[in-house]
């Protein structure tokens, strides 16, 4: 038997595998690691964050993540607990996780940080300290690429002494030419800020604060709504293959825009797909294609697992693996939940003006924000709309044409020449009621 070479080349990791992800998503990958450290250190579960009792912050001391992004460097500094020496030695710098390593909630594949470092610049410096121990790594990529070994020099340093100060700092300098170009082109920090706001609504202000170039990122909540007694959101849930799936769909409250409409998909609390209006979530195949009249539609699908590899996300955490069994199941339920809502929204615009359409428009207007947690806490049911009870008609118009001569006759009779025709109608009607229909 002869053997052909199938060895790994560093060049693949440095040049190829960095092409499938945007610069912004690389920075988000680094933020993911910081959040993961925080969750791990305090043993906070994703369920607690999304469905827990405490709305603002699971703990009082929020972690901090500060991102600096300019033409010289990209830097992510956090106070989220730091990385242990053991993890640094055995796992952090490996490509892919070992089967028996305890992985975080947001880092499924063990590629995010390395890919970000390689993509952004030629030199990186990492210092990480837990309360008790620390390490430091400085590496120049071009030099490392020349070496045959897959080893990274590491230096042990002292711990941060308190868990509050413990954290990791990653600085990437000697930015690659194309990264420099993009940064000079402008807009990258703003994109990161926007992406982070839509990606981390369940983490920001609940477990960490995040700033991009000193600007604090406010979480952008996913706008789910209900209206008391009128509009009830659809909800569903199931467990499959170690993944807990929770689904909700309804009408958005407040300002409704096409941009925010659609399905949001969360994997371990992180928004992977936002406001999707494509075939991925059933639009145009399982149900109607998106049109502006559906701009109030919002759906949320949350996938949670202690083993992030079971979640249906791709390695960039910006898309869904359509072949995932749990996603196929969820997608079918998402379609089932969506259809009645689209029918409901559609009936706001009937071909002829009807009172029903008016009632539906009022119901849509009356929708107020309700949290995913509150919707998900109730039993499984479909979307429902209860029309207002029809009011019993108490009055009716009386209208008829009368001879002017007859009207004048009445005016003369009651000696009130200024009476209008309708006043005469009322007067004579009341008179008849009083004198002839006594009861």
């Amino acid at each position: 038997m002869k053997y052909a070479s199938a060895s790994v080349r560093k060049q693949f990791f440095i040049e190829m595998f960095t092409r499938d992800i945007s610069l912004e998503d690389c920075v988000l990958d680094l933020i993911d690691n910081s959040i993961d450290s925080y969750l791990q250190q305090r043993a906070i579960s994703i369920s607690e964050l999304i469905f827990g009792a405490v709305r603002n912050g699971v703990t009082k001391d929020l972690g901090r993540i500060d991102v600096t992004c300019n033409e010289r460097q990209i830097k992510v500094v956090d106070t989220c607990g730091g990385i242990t020496r053991r993890r640094a030695m055995e796992d952090v710098f490996c490509f892919g996780h070992d089967a028996d390593h305890l992985v975080g909630k947001l880092g499924a594949y063990g590629v995010g940080m390395k890919r970000a470092l390689f993509k952004i610049g030629n030199k990186f410096h990492i210092v990480s300290r837990t309360a008790t121990e620390g390490f430091e790594v400085t590496l120049k990529l071009d030099e490392w690429a020349e070496e045959k070994d897959w080893l990274i020099p590491i230096k042990f340093v002292d711990g941060a002494e308190t868990s509050k100060k413990a954290g990791t700092s990653i600085t990437i300098t000697e930015l690659h030419e194309e990264v420099g170009l993009r940064l000079r082109e402008g807009g990258v920090p703003k994109n990161i800020l926007n992406d982070a706001a839509t990606t981390y609504p369940y983490f920001l202000d609940r477990c960490t604060k995040l700033t991009i170039n000193d600007t604090e990122v406010s979480p952008r909540e996913i706008p789910l709504g209900e209206s008391q007694g009128r509009v009830k959101a659809a909800r569903d849930k199931f467990d499959q293959n170690g993944v807990k799936v929770t689904l909700a769909a309804s009408v958005a409250p407040g300002q409704r825009t096409t941009e925010q409409a659609g399905w949001y998909i969360l994997c371990n609390g992180r928004v992977v797909v936002d406001a999707d209006k494509t075939d991925l979530t059933g639009w145009g195949s399982e149900f109607a294609s998106f049109q502006p009249k559906y701009r109030s539609f919002v759906g949320l699908a949350s996938f949670e697992s202690d083993d992030p590899l079971r979640l249906p996300w791709t390695t960039t955490k910006r898309d869904i693996n359509r072949e995932s069994g749990v996603f196929i199941h969820a997608r079918a339920l998402m379609a089932t939940m969506s259809k009645p809502i689209l029918t409901f929204l559609n009936s706001q615009y009937p071909s002829d003006a009807s009172t029903e359409a008016g009632d539906i428009r009022d119901a849509v207007e009356g929708v107020r924000a309700v949290s995913f947690k509150d919707i998900a806490s109730k039993p499984i049911s479909g979307f429902s709309y209860s029309p207002p009870k029809k009011k019993e008609k108490k009055t009716e118009w009386v209208r008829f044409n009368a001879q002017i001569a007859s009207l004048d006759k009445v005016r003369r009779h009651v000696r009130r020449p200024g009476l209008s025709a309708s006043e005469i109608g009322k007067l004579t009607f009341d008179h008849y009621l009083k004198t002839e229909c006594a009861d």
Binding site: L333, T336, M337, K339, P340, G382, S384
Partner: protein, 328 residues
């Protein structure tokens, strides 16, 4: 969906083939009940219209008490309520697409989507929703019209189509089915595959694909075929159905006597069960019944009837209603 609600067009209780179908379904449910499916506790959801024939039979013959009738024509609401035969029937003025996601996951269901129109998108979408959400052991039945689509059906497909100039034919019918069910149609079909005589086949393929593919999303569950009827009272109709089943339910079905019946279909590839009702006088029926179930070659001696009709009668006589005039 047809332009006019079928409750005005069809006198529901006087359709002998439909009634045979209902009785066969009840026979099947009784056999499944005997094999351990708690059918009496199932919830039945159907389109009761103003006649409620299926509801009356399910309640009286199977002891079902959870009954939900869906009606989506608002103008019929008062008539439907007026005609509700039992207090245990819950009337919901919503389309199936809204009612299906709301069906309890903790209960087993029989859902009969007894449409009176030619297959369309919204029916297929209802099937997908039902197969996606019904609890294991639940039964889904779907009835559709398999006559060629009519002018009013086609207006969605091609608003410019002028029926006064062109008559619809296989080319238009193909377009109709491609518009409504393209993902469920096989590749490479030609116009002649949509000739009138082939429409049962096409609708069967589409429904089969809708049932089986929708079940793919359910881990550990399959859609197990049970019924595939073709019959004709006025329009030719197709009814297909089966059970959302896991390993336990499959074993229970195998353990039942349903396979002993002539109408049972364990797959959708076999030919459908054709409900054919020979035209017979009352006297002939009484005579034939005395000999039923008959031997294969048996023929009546006192009048002439072709052997095919005798065999057809043998398959349906237990289920065939007898109608008589009553003076109200």
């Amino acid at each position: 969906m047809s332009a006019e609600s079928s409750s005005y067009r069809v006198q529901y209780d006087l359709r002998p083939s439909k009634q045979v179908e209902r009785r066969m379904i009840i026979d099947a449910l009784q056999r499944l009940a005997a094999a351990g499916f708690p059918v009496a506790d199932y919830q039945y959801t159907g389109f009761g219209s103003i006649y409620f024939v299926d509801f009356i039979m399910f309640h009286k013959l199977l002891g079902m008490n959870r009954l939900v009738s869906l009606e989506q024509t608002p103008s019929l609401e008062r008539r439907v309520s007026f005609n509700r035969p039992f207090s245990c029937i819950d009337i919901r003025m919503v389309p199936a697409s809204s009612a299906i996601p709301d069906l309890s996951r903790d209960v087993q269901h029989i859902v009969w989507l007894d449409y009176d129109g030619v297959l369309n998108k919204s029916m297929l979408s209802d099937i997908q929703s039902a197969v996606t959400t019904l609890s294991p052991g639940s039964i889904l039945l779907v009835t559709v019209d398999v006559e060629p689509p009519e002018d009013h059906d086609y207006s969605d497909v091609d608003p410019d189509f002028d029926s006064s100039k062109t008559r619809m034919g296989p080319t238009e019918w193909k377009k109709y089915f491609e518009h409504h069910a393209s993902v469920y149609l096989e590749l490479g079909l030609t116009d002649s595959d949509f000739a009138k005589s082939r429409l049962v086949e096409r609708s069967t393929e589409i429904l089969t694909a809708a049932f089986l593919r929708s079940a793919v999303s359910r881990p550990g569950l399959d859609f197990m075929p049970l019924f595939n009827f073709v019959y004709k009272d006025s329009h030719q109709m197709l009814s297909m159905g089966g059970m959302v089943a896991g390993a336990t339910e499959k074993r229970q079905i195998r353990g039942s006597t349903i396979a002993d019946t002539a109408y049972y279909r364990s797959d959708f590839e076999s030919l459908p069960f054709q409900i054919r009702i020979p035209r017979l006088t009352r006297k002939e029926r009484v005579y034939l019944d005395r000999e039923m179930p008959c031997e294969d070659q048996w023929m009546p001696k006192e009048f002439d009837l072709d052997s095919k009709a005798v065999m057809e009668y043998r398959e349906i006589y237990r289920f065939l209603p007898a109608f008589a005039e009553i003076l109200l």
